[in-house]
């Protein structure tokens, strides 16, 4: 169906391309759901139980992997922001926005699962440790991105501001990643490599644990962020179409 207004034609019927994209997205979603189930199987069944921590250690497969997913999603924001500043194509800004939303969800999962793991291991839900503090700052920085976007009326200004902000916000992700290597006073254990001297709750990885971590890293840093970002982009595409229709109705 087409509607004609002010010499402009808006095609609202789904195109062959959009139908194909929908089918591909549905297929990817199905594969992601299966991948999540496989990841959980490896985390809950295949991986051996840690003798010192008990079953709560299994949270670590999601905790670590969800941060990797957030890293990828926020990386998408950097790519989207830089590409928008170069090309001025709004599609790149949509990618940047989708990356922030999905990254924030994954970062929040990382933060909450870490807090739950800490309760029996550190005997507290929260402590102002350098890693935990930088992680919280990272989440707040990206939450501020979403709030600040809402406050800018002009679309071009909003996109330019968001692009620059999204690129610089990635510094908080890098700091969160490396802080346990540069701050010896942290109690947060390192998963890969030597833990800081004050680390509490560290553990040695057995072969089954490494396998479970590897599987979940792929699930959480590839399948989940890509699928969620694609769904979020689809929403943004629809929002752009509604906005275009609204302008045409107002002009007619």
């Amino acid at each position: 169906m087409t509607a004609i207004s002010n010499q402009q034609v808006v095609t609202t019927a789904p195109t062959v391309k959009s139908v194909r994209a929908s089918m591909l997205l549905n297929a990817l979603t199905l594969v992601t759901l299966i991948a999540v189930a496989v990841g959980l199987y490896f985390a809950l069944v295949v991986a051996g139980t840690d003798i010192e921590q008990g079953n709560v250690q299994r949270i670590f497969y999601i905790h670590v992997s969800s941060f990797a997913g957030a890293f990828i999603a926020f990386g998408g924001t950097v790519i989207g922001g830089a590409a928008y500043l170069i090309t001025r194509n709004p599609k790149w800004d949509q990618l940047a926005l989708a990356g922030v939303e999905v990254g924030l969800v994954l970062a929040f999962i990382n933060l909450v699962t870490g807090s739950i793991w800490a309760r029996p291991i550190w005997n507290t839900w929260w402590t102002w440790d350098p890693r935990l503090t930088s992680d919280a700052i990272m989440c707040l920085t990206y939450a501020a991105y979403l709030m600040l976007r809402q406050g800018i009326e002009n679309a071009d200004t909003r996109r330019r501001f968001a692009s620059v902000y999204g690129i610089f916000a990635f510094i908080t992700v890098i700091i969160t990643l490396v802080i346990i290597r540069i701050r010896p006073d942290t109690i947060h254990p390192a998963v890969i490599g030597v833990s800081p001297q004050n680390a509490q709750g560290g553990f040695g990885l057995t072969e089954s644990m490494i396998t479970a971590l590897g599987v979940n890293m792929v699930v959480w840093s590839v399948f989940i962020p890509v699928t969620l970002i694609w769904w979020r982009l689809r929403l943004e595409t629809l929002a752009a179409r509604v906005e275009s229709l609204r302008i045409q109705v107002m002009e007619s």
Binding site: S5, T12, I51, G54, S66, V105, F108, I109, Q248
Partner: protein, 47 residues
């Protein structure tokens, strides 16, 4: 070995809840936009 299974389930519950909230928010926003698009198309058809 300490008994910490309750915390594992609490963590899994938190993951499910956060994910469900995000997916619910996506679905709700998508539905609202579809409704808006349909209403705007209706107005344009009437013009």
């Amino acid at each position: 070995m300490p008994e910490t299974t309750d915390y594992l389930f609490l963590g899994l519950g938190a993951v499910v809840t956060i994910t469900a909230l995000f997916l619910g928010s996506l679905t709700l926003r998508y539905r609202n936009l579809r409704r808006d698009a349909a209403a705007l198309e209706e107005i344009m058809r009437g013009d």
